[in-house]
Symmetry: C2
Subunit: 211 residues, 2 copies
DNA sequence: CGGAGTCTTGACCGTTGTCAATGTTGGTGG
DNA sequence: CCACCAACATTGACAACGGTCAAGACTCCG
């Protein structure tokens, strides 16, 4: 287990690691850096996530993994994971399900970036983060910690940081959210979801594992 | 095994199917229909693909699956797949890998839609399709079948069909591609990949299964 | 108190969307 | 073999969304 400061690259694009990360505390993100200078964040990760579980099966990292805030990360050798999976086949199923749910989130991100206008795009991202944080007990009744700068939100939504700023003002103006310091207050969850066209089905949270 | 005409929905958003599809012939796509009327295609599928393999683990479809061209599809009951996986654990690993590679493709789509300009976005999609078709022996030396209308390409790239048209002209004007009927000719693969910023690593094609 | 990082604002520009009309093509039936 | 039709591709004019640049305000932290 190790601690890292904010904005630190933990796994590099092209790496071939022999262990997986388990995020204990803090926010991480997966991203790709383009040669044009642009950067696209492809996922956010919160405590409890295994952000690079796929390295158990895919040798080469096709993206980078880094911290957004100070983080505590546990490293688990692939060897140990493979032994565990061999011993507890249900764990293999759980890992597979994890991968599938991640894929479902990626799909929704494609939709978000591909065809929602600025304000809805941000609103949708907020809904998703709120749901996920809620699931692991890290949300409050009326909102959640949101230690993401507007530049980071821009890299995740395909918008410029200036435009993110304007769209946040738009959302505040609509009475959907409020922000103080690094806390995102959700003023009316129903309205926010309706506005964003958010449907939590894709997070597959209510489904029960088949025996 | 059944045949379907073009533009037919095979699995609906919200369904809870008890079988998986194996695409034998033709092109399929996964997509989400928004209430705003917009549609986002999240993946294309070619012969050999299992486009809804995730239904083995995730009960509810969070997107739709349909044909783009006339297709031949084989249906395999989940029950049969679970039995197979029980008998041949390597198959479970293969399925997991399949899901992971699909996820990698989704990640790249997020990047594509999120931060590449129109022409590069189309070029990148063409590179991906060419690689994948090549892998299953369905490409020619200088290009591949491309039975996708400009409206479909638009729904996949987050562009309007009118803009797709203009960007195609741009690519033709740069001497990168040519199109006749439903065939996409790739005039200079190197140049096209460079232009698109395409790096096939994310397709994880050269990697060997660990024993 | 000072400074770095972040947020906010305004002006302007470029990319992309929309609408509507016109070509073009492949397939079908006479 | 030809006429016709529907789907698709193409064009032009215009509008809107979002990007860029540059400056200034705020906030947190040492």
């Amino acid at each position: 287990m190790r601690s890292f400061p904010a904005d630190q690259e933990i796994v590099r694009d092209g790496d071939d690691p022999d262990h997986c990360c388990l995020l204990i505390e803090g926010f991480m993100h997966c991203y790709k850096q383009l040669e044009t200078g642009k950067r696209q964040i492809v996922s956010f990760h919160i405590p409890g996530d295994l952000p690079d579980l796929q390295t158990m099966q895919l040798n080469v990292m096709d993206h980078a993994l880094g911290t957004l805030t100070p983080c505590v990360v546990a490293f688990i050798p692939h060897r140990a994971l493979h032994l565990l999976v061999g011993e507890f086949p249900n764990l293999a199923v759980a890992f597979w399900r994890d991968s599938l749910i991640n894929a479902a989130i990626f799909r929704e991100w494609v939709v978000n970036v591909g065809c929602r206008p600025g304000p809805q795009r941000l609103a949708h991202l907020f809904c998703e983060l709120f749901y996920r944080l809620e699931t692991v007990g890290l949300a409050h009744k009326d909102g959640c910690e949101m230690p993401l700068t507007q530049a980071v939100l821009g890299d995740a939504t395909g918008l410029s940081s200036v435009h993110v700023n304007r769209m946040m003002q738009d959302l505040r103006g609509r009475g959907l959210i409020a922000t103080k310091a690094k806390f995102l207050q959700i003023l009316d969850r129903e309205k926010l979801q309706d506005f964003a066209g958010f449907d939590p089905t894709y997070l597959h949270m209510k489904e029960v594992l088949s025996p």
